[in-house]
């Protein structure tokens, strides 16, 4: 019996030692896991920073076009305000004469005489019609500028609660509006099914489309530089496939070299001349789409140009 007890105690000792070893390893594993979680968090923060800095770079690319887009309405707003200043002088004269007549500071005859003179100098009916046109134009110009600024802010400013549900058509519209100036020399066709609900960061997915469209537009511009009769064409189509939303952006530009096709999603890889492009455009596209549990692929079209396909989970 004594021997059995000793044997038990030895077995117990072995269990104790093994458990101690296990606990030691578990503690180390826990510490490493905490370290790993911190690194993942850091990586996620850096990813956000990369997306944000790429956005800023895109804003830089867009700035000339956006400035032009703002300049157009601004030009006719300035012109209209100048006209309003002239009209304001005329209206003041009419109002002041009428006021003086009501206050009996001028006689009836004098009032009509001066009124006729003013009428000869300024056509009242035309003035009234013009005022209405000017105010409509000003309103339209302000709305255009306000939409451009809103689009820019929506795109550039990170939102606190960034995961929302929205329709695929919203980001397509948003991206094409921001790129209006860059795309105006191209034929742009959009064919987007209704009720394609996506869930995620709307500004980031807009960024995906902007980066892709900028590439497509540049590819078309290169083709046009080589052949002046070339007519650039970009087709955006969005449709449902099983439980996924597929967005395809097809251009008829210069296309990709076979060697580049495998590397376009690599960070800092660029086919553009030195000093042009950050080399992060499609890397950011890849990162954003992966974060939304989607996939992205690119391939040359049989005729010319490339098609970039995005597949994102449909939100229910």
């Amino acid at each position: 019996m004594q021997n059995y007890y000793k044997a038990y105690m030895r077995e117990k000792q072995a269990r104790d030692e093994l458990e101690e070893l296990l606990e030691e390893k578990t503690s180390k594993l826990y510490a490493l896991n905490v370290e790993l979680e911190k690194k993942i968090e850091l990586l996620e923060r850096q990813q956000v920073a990369v997306v944000q800095s790429e956005k800023m770079a895109t804003l830089g690319t867009l700035s000339a076009g956006v400035a032009h887009e703002i300049n157009n309405p601004l030009a006719y707003l300035t012109c209209n305000i100048d006209t309003l200043a002239v009209y304001s002088k005329d209206i003041n004269e009419f109002l002041s004469l009428t006021s003086n007549y009501i206050d009996e500071k001028v006689s009836r005859d004098e009032f009509f005489e001066r009124f006729h003179k003013l009428q000869q100098a300024t056509d009242i009916a035309e003035l009234i019609e013009d005022l209405s046109d000017i105010s409509e134009d000003c309103k339209e110009g302000c709305d255009r500028i306000s939409l451009i600024v809103k689009n820019l802010l929506d795109f550039a400013k990170p939102k606190a609660d960034s995961s929302i549900e929205f329709e695929a058509s919203e980001i397509i519209t948003h991206a094409t509006q921001l790129l209006e100036n860059k795309l105006k020399l191209l034929q742009l066709d959009i064919d987007c099914e209704k009720n394609l609900l996506l869930k995620g960061s709307k500004p980031n997915l807009t960024q995906v489309l902007i980066n892709t469209l900028v590439n497509a537009a540049q590819s078309c511009a290169e083709a046009r530089n080589a052949d002046s009769s070339f007519r650039g064409h970009i087709q955006i189509s969005a449709f449902k496939s099983d439980k996924m939303v597929v967005i395809k952006i097809k251009d008829n530009g210069t296309g990709l070299e076979e060697a580049d096709a495998n590397r376009v999603f690599d960070p800092f890889y660029t086919t553009k001349p030195l000093g042009e492009g950050t080399g992060m455009g499609l890397a950011v596209v890849y990162g954003i789409i992966s974060n939304h549990l989607g996939t992205v692929s690119i391939s040359n079209n049989p005729d010319s140009g490339v098609t970039l396909s995005l597949e994102l989970p449909l939100a229910f």
């Binding site: 059995y4 007890y5 038990y8 117990k12 269990r15 104790d16 458990e19 101690e20 296990l22 606990e23 578990t26 503690s27 826990y30």
Partner: protein
């Protein structure tokens, strides 16, 4: 329930009543060839069945058995985890750190330990109010652990249980006088 608790019961029974009784209890209540390993989880019913039989063998009622077991459990765990216990310099410091320090250390070592909720607050320099809340309703064992902790720090304690889940209260409250 984690195997470490069963291992403590095993040690207590063998030390006080011998290997035969432990073997009998295992045969009576557990699957064949049961060996307890600290990090592994085992059915709660097994512990309850073993503890019930131990209380009969010791001629104690269940609350007294659990209290005695809790007292022993503290020294058992303190012996196994000396580095954690060394962090505390007084009875009060340890009791106040159960939830934040001790339970977080347990969570690092064991997967899904299903720990009870413990909330300890200082009432005055000699009194601590401790709330115990667990679906396992092992408040007697918790009381024993407090006694074991007091023994470890050479303090005398007087524990009054003012509410108890066994009597229909939502949780158990202990008023601990120490010094």
């Amino acid at each position: 329930m984690k195997g470490v608790i069963f291992r403590c019961l095993e040690e207590l029974v063998i030390e006080t009543k011998g290997m035969d009784l432990w073997e009998q209890l295992l045969e009576q209540h557990c699957p064949t060839d049961r060996v307890y390993i600290s990090a592994q989880s085992y059915p709660d019913e097994e512990l309850v069945a073993l503890a019930t039989s131990v209380s009969k063998a010791l001629n104690l009622n269940m609350p007294e058995t659990l209290k005695a077991f809790g007292t022993y459990l503290f020294s058992f765990l303190a012996k196994k985890h000396t580095s954690i216990v060394k962090e505390f310099h007084s009875f009060e410091q340890l009791i106040l750190s159960i939830d934040k320090v001790i339970h977080s250390e347990v969570q690092k070592l064991y997967d899904e330990p299903n720990l009870p909720m413990i909330d300890a607050t200082v009432v005055d320099s000699e009194t601590i109010k401790l709330i115990y809340n667990s679906p396992r309703q092992l408040c007697f064992c918790a009381e024993g652990l407090i006694y074991g902790c007091a023994q470890h720090f050479n303090e005398s304690v007087d524990i009054q249980q003012t509410t108890c889940s066994h009597h229909g209260d939502s949780m158990c409250t202990f008023i601990i006088k120490h010094g």
